[in-house]
């Protein structure tokens, strides 16, 4: 359909149904199995991420409930210590790696092109690849658990316990290789997000008009790019020690156990900001809609997002305060850990002020977005306490920390995500979630969560250590654990109500229409669900709130336009703009559906299984297959104008 044209002035027109039909032909995915394995539609990939992440959330939740059953009272015998150790490791690994980041990737994948006024992510096939690799890596790690050889040294997997002499089975090999595998997904996904936001925005969407969620994911992606290699390297060095007797971590031959902790936490701390900043962005974008006004302090909130991440690079040693480091280092990292809370305070006060200076409407989404502020602060202050080194020497490795991490992760990731579901489910499916069930969902989750985790602060202050499969009576922990177990089950019931609401509303929810919330951003200007091509014509953006402009008198004389814009229908195309000002500077040819990402993932899976099982002859074979697949993937395509124009 295309010639290899070098330049073109994009046609500008008002959107018509003819445009829509033509674009539909260009952008639609093949039906059935073929389409399932080959689609690069960011909306399909986003939904897959969300569904898969929730499946892992359920798995991790069940693991937690089994542990809570064991810990209901002292000296119970439901689980053996080895079983318990695998459960707490799988729970942490699942929630932090297989749920918390992928769920945000899923929302970002689905929403970004719609938020940015574009037709797809910058690298559609890489997008598909990042999902397939995530699925494969998650299943790879769960395969270990399924055969009774699940990782069992906690999600941060300290050496020397995770080295071969102390943990000789396949458990840690599954974890090491699985994490390296997963790191590939995270890294390529991060590149995709960075390039999408820097280059593929609607004309006029300057950098100060980006939704905060975009700032959040952009920041997280930039951080991931720089820190994922640290954890991949740590696991690679461990894997080498375990298979080939190198001496990175074995003390007897000169290894350094603390090197593991440095590498892991240099990754781990930025990671925990990466799994909350996009969710905070969801609140920054969604809460104002239900307060019927723009966010208070957009600029400082955007800047604080970036500041949190940058400061977050400088605090990793606060996970190592008890390891015997010199006082100077301890003081520096303690100070940095105090300072990093300042940008978070910016967000908390911005949200709270938005409620006070707005007109809050108590929908389910609003309840999740606003309650999150409270949970955030509770989690934040327990973190504040641990920033003080001498206090941390009492608090660390007790249930106080377990309380802290759950308040920050459930409070700043899960609650915004559920709020985001109530907010964006109508856009994704065309139907609203049930509000009455939603209120029940909210209250059971909120009460259950607090009932479960508030007492943990107290059991931690009473000295209950982490990662114990049982405890003695008479320590003052018994009734606290009982309440925690009851609360956890109530919270789980709340999550079940969410699943019920999702399933029921998919079939019988009220039809939503394009903009059920009267929200301001671009995704609400297209149908629910959106057509495969997102926008019939590329919008032109003149403010942060394109759909609110005429009522807010923002943006001056120039107005945003969604009904008239660039058509760009000579194949799969979208517009590229300059990174800061959002001025159009290139017409991008986007790749279409392809089996290459799926095939490449299969090849990588074979490679990792071969490494796990020491099938050394398979390794170079699969390696070559992967290179061949990459070569085919990257082969220049005439249709995408990647080949020199012919002379004849």
């Amino acid at each position: 359909m295309t010639s290899s044209e070098v330049e073109r002035t994009p046609e500008i027109a008002s959107a018509t149904t003819d445009h829509g039909r033509h674009l539909e032909q260009i952008w639609k995915t093949a039906p059935g199995i073929a389409g399932f394995f080959s689609t690069v539609d960011h909306k399909a990939i986003g939904k897959r991420y969300i569904v898969t992440a929730f499946a892992f959330l359920a798995a991790g939740g069940i693991e937690a409930l089994i542990m809570r059953a064991q810990l209901t009272g002292p000296s119970e015998h439901l689980l053996s210590p080895e079983q318990y150790d695998q459960l707490f490791t799988m729970h942490g690994m699942t929630m932090i790696f297989l749920y918390a980041m992928p769920i945000l990737s899923g929302f970002s994948n689905y929403l970004w092109p719609l938020l940015l006024g574009s037709r797809d992510m910058a690298f559609p096939r890489v997008n598909a690849l990042s999902y397939w690799v995530y699925l494969a890596a998650g299943l790879f790690m769960y395969a270990g658990f399924a055969i009774g050889a699940g990782p069992n040294d906690g999600w941060f997997n300290y050496v020397p316990y995770s080295t071969r002499p102390y943990d000789p089975g396949l458990n840690i090999d599954f974890y090491s290789l699985g994490m390296i595998f997963l790191g590939i997904s995270t890294s390529v996904g991060a590149v995709n997000f960075i390039l999408t936001v820097l280059r593929t925005r609607a004309p006029g969407m300057s950098i100060d008009r980006l939704p905060i969620m975009v700032w959040g994911t952009l920041t997280a992606s930039a951080a991931n790019l720089l820190v994922v290699p640290a954890v991949s390297l740590a696991f690679f060095l461990l894997w080498m020690d375990r298979q080939f007797e190198t001496h990175f971590f074995d003390v007897a031959r000169g290894g350094q156990p603390l090197l593991w902790q440095h590498l892991f936490w240099m990754f781990g701390h930025p990671w925990v900001y990466a799994i909350v900043l996009p969710a905070m962005g969801m609140v920054s974008d969604g809460l104002p809609v239900f307060c019927r006004r723009p966010l208070v302090g957009y600029t400082v909130v955007a800047l604080s997002t970036v500041a949190t991440m940058i400061l977050g690079f400088g605090v990793w040693v606060h996970h190592m305060f008890a390891t015997g480091l010199p006082n100077l280092a301890l003081s520096f990292f303690s100070g940095a850990s105090f300072i990093v809370t300042v940008p978070s305070a910016v967000a908390v006060f911005a949200w709270t002020t938005t409620i006070w200076l707005g007109r809050p409407v108590i929908t389910t989404a609003f309840l999740f977005f606003s309650s999150m502020i409270v949970l955030f602060v509770i989690g934040g202050v327990s973190g504040f306490m641990t920033a003080a080194v001498p206090v941390d020497w009492q608090l660390t490795h007790t249930y106080f920390i377990v309380a802290h991490i759950h308040y920050v992760l459930i409070g700043i990731n899960v609650f915004p995500v559920v709020g985001g579901l109530y907010y964006w489910f109508p856009k994704m499916t065309g139907r609203l979630l049930d509000e009455r069930l939603g209120k029940w969902n909210f209250w059971t989750m909120f009460v259950g969560f607090n009932l479960g985790f508030l007492p943990m602060h107290l059991s931690g202050l009473r000295g209950m250590p982490r990662r114990v499969y049982t405890y003695a009576e008479g320590m003052g922990w018994d009734w606290l654990n009982l309440i925690t177990t009851i609360g956890s089950f109530l919270f789980a019931f709340g999550v079940l109500l969410l699943f019920v609401n999702l399933v029921a509303s998919l079939r019988r929810g009220r039809i939503a229409g394009a903009n059920p919330w009267d929200a301001p951003t671009l995704e609400w200007s297209v149908s629910s669900p959106p057509p495969p091509y997102n926008f019939a014509v590329i919008p032109r953006v003149a403010s942060r709130h394109p759909l609110w402009e005429d009522r807010l008198a923002e943006g001056g004389a120039v107005r945003s336009s969604v009904t008239r814009g660039m058509v760009l229908d000579h194949g799969r195309e979208t517009i590229a703009t300059t990174p800061l000002d959002g001025e159009p500077d290139q017409i991008l040819k986007m790749t279409g559906d392809s089996y290459a990402p799926f095939v490449l993932t299969l090849g990588m899976t074979v490679l990792f299984v071969a490494l796990l099982r020491h099938w050394w002859w398979v390794v170079p074979v699969s390696g070559l297959a992967i290179l061949a697949a990459l070569l085919l993937w990257l082969w220049p395509e005439r249709e995408l104008d990647q080949v020199a124009e012919t002379r004849s």
Binding site: F349, R359, P360, R551
Partner: protein, 348 residues
């Protein structure tokens, strides 16, 4: 002969005594109920940390109350009557940044103050208040604690396990050695925790104000029996501590009835590859020294009270009590178990 107490000190003592009689009934049950709770302190390092803990805790609670009030207040006072979002008219933006600035400003002041207080406390506990009276070398290994009391006099170096005695009123230097994986040495009522890391010797210090038993535990996940790797600090007056040390130095007496002699021999044969009982043939170094086993209140690293029943059960089947422990379940017939137990019961 005790010298007479001067008048002024007598009245001081009276004050202290009455304070103790008031405070003790309040804290003593609390200590018994929550033996690992560290909101109260019983030694110099903990005395320095606990006020900071309380201070930051109170600040945290105040912050939570304020934020909850603000959020709830905003929702309750400003909420709209209708539930149809689209029906509520929009408001313009552009205001409110000042409030954000105010909140962040106040938070920053509190944070700065907390930071300074932290640095001060950290500097204060870096070194013990006076020169340590004693150095103890503690080796953390799966899943028990080897304790060596160091001395300039080699004949006084003492090796025991799990129950650590210290003199009151003076700092004790603790050198932490890691034999296998990372553990963490923690006595909540007396001090913060310090990790035990193979390849490096971490140093911490303890000081207890008054005699008592202070529970300790491993607090870094170290394998399947991490949950059962406790220890106990027994603080004694300096005089009692000296007496205890001298008693511990004595080897076991293996004279006595034939049952005991038989038990000693059997013990050396079946258990001596791992355990040491000084004065017998048993000289193994990979398991706790049992020379004065019956002087300890608990066995199996604070897992069980040290009585006849528990001792028998532990010897007969350690895997049932601590699954995965490195002490194997050795088959012993009834008489053999009886002999060994009788022998062990003499090790006071």
């Amino acid at each position: 002969m005790v010298p007479p107490v001067p008048e002024s000190r007598r009245s001081n003592n009276l004050v202290i005594a009455s304070a103790v009689f008031v405070v003790a009934p309040v804290t003593a049950p609390a200590q018994a109920e929550t033996p690992l709770g560290y909101l109260r302190s019983f030694g110099a390092m903990a005395h320095a940390i606990t006020p900071l803990t309380w201070g930051l805790l109170i600040i945290s609670l105040v912050v939570c109350v304020i934020v909850i009030a603000l959020v709830l207040g905003g929702i309750v006072l400003k909420r709209q009557a209708g539930h149809i979002t689209a029906a509520i008219p929009l408001m313009r933006g552009g205001d409110g940044a000042g409030w954000v600035g105010l909140g962040v400003g106040i938070s920053s002041v509190v944070l700065l103050g907390s930071m300074i207080w932290t640095v001060v406390v950290l500097a204060a506990i870096n070194e013990p208040p006076s020169k340590p009276a004693l150095t103890i070398e503690v080796t953390g290994q799966q899943w028990w604690w080897k304790v060596r009391y160091l001395s300039d006099d080699p004949s006084r170096i003492l090796t025991t396990a799990n129950e650590i005695h210290i003199p009151t009123g003076k700092p004790v230097r603790v050198e932490l050695i890691g034999a296998d994986v990372i553990h963490s040495f923690w006595v909540p009522l007396l001090s913060g925790k310090t990790d035990v890391i193979p390849g490096q010797t971490n140093v911490t210090w303890l000081e207890a104000d008054r005699p008592g038993r202070y529970a300790g535990l491993c607090s870094e996940f170290c394998g399947v029996q991490h949950a059962h790797m406790g220890f106990e600090i027994v603080a004694q007056s300096p005089r009692d501590f000296e007496a205890w040390w001298n008693a511990q130095l004595k080897p076991a007496a293996t004279t006595g009835s034939s049952v005991i002699a038989r038990g000693a021999t059997l013990f050396a044969y079946r258990c001596g590859a791992c355990h040491t009982v000084r004065g017998t043939e048993a000289g193994g170094a990979v398991a706790p020294d049992l020379t004065h086993l019956m002087s300890r209140a608990t066995i199996a690293a604070e897992t069980l009270p040290n009585n006849v029943g528990n001792l028998s059960g532990w010897i007969a089947n350690p895997q049932a009590i601590k699954p995965g422990t490195l002490m194997p379940t050795v088959y012993l017939s009834g008489p053999e178990l009886n002999d060994i137990r009788s022998f062990l019961l003499t090790l006071k």
